[in-house]
Amino acid sequence: MIAEFGLAALWLAAALAAFQLIAGSLALTERGEGLAGAVRPVAVVQGLLTAIAFVALILVFARTDLSVKLVAMNSHSMKPLIFKIAGAWGNHEGSMLLWVTVMSLAGGFVALVERRLPERTMLATLAGQAFVSLGFYAFLLISSNPFERLDPVPAEGNGLNPLLQDLGLAFHPPTLYLGYVGLSVAFSFAIGALITREVGPAFARAMRPWVLAAWIFLTLGITAGSYWAYYELGWGGWWFWDPVENASLMPWLAATALLHSASVLAARNALRAWTVMLGVVAFSMSMIGTFLVRSGILTSVHAFAVDPERGSFILVLLAIYIGGALTLFGLRAATVTEGERFAPVSREGALVINNVALCAILGIVLFGTLYPLVTEAFDTKVSVGPPYFNPMGAVFFVPMLLVLMVGPLLRWRRDSLARVRPAIIAAGLAILAAVIAVLLVGGVGVLPFIGLVLAVGLAVASVMPLRGRNLRRTPLAVWGMVLAHLGIAVALFGMASESAFSVERLVALREGESATVGPWTVRLDAVEPVAGPNWTALEARMTARYKDGGGSMLLPQARSFWAPPQQTTESALKTRWNGQLYTVLGGESPGQTGPGRWQVRLWWKPFVTLIWYGGLLIGLGGVLALIGRTASDIRRVIARDKIAYRRERQNR
């Protein structure tokens, strides 16, 4: 029953989306004005209905209702409850339902609270949101029904990929999806503004919090995903330039650019067409990412749906939405002027360089990710990986970082570098000190060297905007900017340090033997079998000592899941302020090294944790900016209402 109930809610929601599109479009004409009042309530109800459908799916998973095909394919009665629930979105159909749910909830939320724009633009925006949703409803209901029944009912389910049975991964996809799909709001705003030709500071101010919120989720989602890959895959890698990772990075790059250009538009009424364009591009990147992941067109760990029918369906949706939006942009771009002018050395100038660099990096990532498909059409398979992305990205990333050191200090419109000389000198000295320090340590490759040095310079430069300010009266948005930029420096330092200074040790140890890795001495005390709810494992008990310090215990496991049968390694980590010890238990190692030895993999990764602390700082900066901006907007709305109220009373 629950499954049918969920499916009915989904069909109803799709019908409402169709109504929302028609009513929203008609309301823009003179004859259809009467429909205007219906659009917002319909959007809210549509959001609620998809939420109901999503809860229904979670319920059938929580109860392991094996008569539902999706549950039988992806769940198992023996799984811990939390992974049963997380299993609801750990598969193709469920994750698409999550996508649609987030999209219509976001639309409903916009309809409920957004009052800053002219009502006509809002109607066009909500119609746009419904238009995009409709395609995904169609996709879900026609080719990916999550509530399909199965007859006969199997005795047991197939289980969930053990790699996905991890708390980090349970909440990674929803976070990322909030980001991906949150950008649909920016997309709809861009379409709405293009249709009614109201691109200006008010539009940017209204769109900014939505972009900011989506961007925060994307940032946190990517950070969490990277940490998951790091500790779960068991080899200490934290970014692979895998297509699925790129799929999440591309919307982030576009959203970051959009965030900065929206600031220019909001403050200075410049970069108008460019900002609208980025609004379209950002969500297009989300859709392309989804296409890449969902269609399984690029083989990758995450591509659990290898199904050409679905692939072509999403491809058609992509063509309609991206093509349609770009056509609309092309038609209207001529009427949207670029707006106010500014000098090269100015806040706007720096932000334009930020935007151009981010877009170039986006271009590299997109091209590099898709190019293997092009060569495959010519019957040659090539791989594009870190040796391509790292240096090519750096070509644009390095100049952007240099500009980032001074950009936030510059004034709008026109400024001179002489005015910010003290800050430039401070950052320069920090860079010089870092160059000397890294040279003294020695043996560091080119890219990590640049990374370390620029990270130190940026860390100093990023707090400069606080200089000479009364810290208590500094607006939250400025704090947010400072923290986010500092977060970039922190994360960059972690990345560069990890790749420059990591020490790796692969050893075969008997119980009681020790090995050293960097400053650590690790003793293998014992290896014992242990059992969990749906797995058994060999667990190593290790004692790790840092230099002459006390020992701490580490318990890495080699796990065997039986539904589906698969081996995973559970690494054990010991975190210090200056890095992380990473231990993995392989199998038993007989053969020439003699019996009774265990394969042990050890890494000492100095400052590696800064990568994710940096990511969290960036996200926190976003949160502060969001709070600051929203609070000041609310104050402005209240003040406006008060003035209007007084005027009304005086006139009476």
Partner: protein, 141 residues
């Protein structure tokens, strides 16, 4: 009761199966999980391994994978480095055998040159865009 049994079976399977596989692997690929004694050689081998694709896995380098084929390839790389071959020679040999797919570092060929032209195009585009933007800005001001 059923799952206690399954658990026991699983336990036996882990303790028995894993060493058997490893034993076989150790004979054919001695350096799959063993580093070279010379740290300088090992560093060279490692730098090469992170740029080689594990053919069986999806989106992982041979330095990041537990798959048997990744183990054999690691061993092959280490043995050849120890025998004095350069990383480029090893990469070429592997690419000849497994195709361009095995290397994460694309070569410049008739098919892949656009990958390397792209950054240049992007730089030119950026320069043109920025110059136009700022020049017209100055004219207006």
């Amino acid at each position: 009761m059923k799952h206690v049994l399954a658990m026991l079976l699983g336990l036996i399977a882990t303790t028995l199966a894993a060493p058997a596989v490893l034993a076989q692997e150790e004979q054919t690929a001695p350096y799959a999980y063993r580093q070279l004694d010379d740290p300088e050689q090992e560093a060279r081998a490692h730098d090469l391994m992170v740029t080689l694709r594990c053919l069986q896995c999806q989106g992982q380098s041979i330095a990041d994978s537990d798959a048997p084929i990744a183990g054999s390839m690691r061993s092959l790389v280490r043995e050849r480095i120890a025998a004095g071959e350069t990383p480029d020679q090893i990469r070429d040999w592997l690419m000849e055998r497994y195709g361009d797919y095995v290397s994460y570092e694309p070569r410049v060929t008739a098919l892949t040159w656009p990958l390397f032209a792209l950054p240049v195009v992007l730089i030119l585009l950026a320069v043109v865009l920025l110059r136009r933007r700022f020049r017209s800005g100055r004219a207006a001001a």
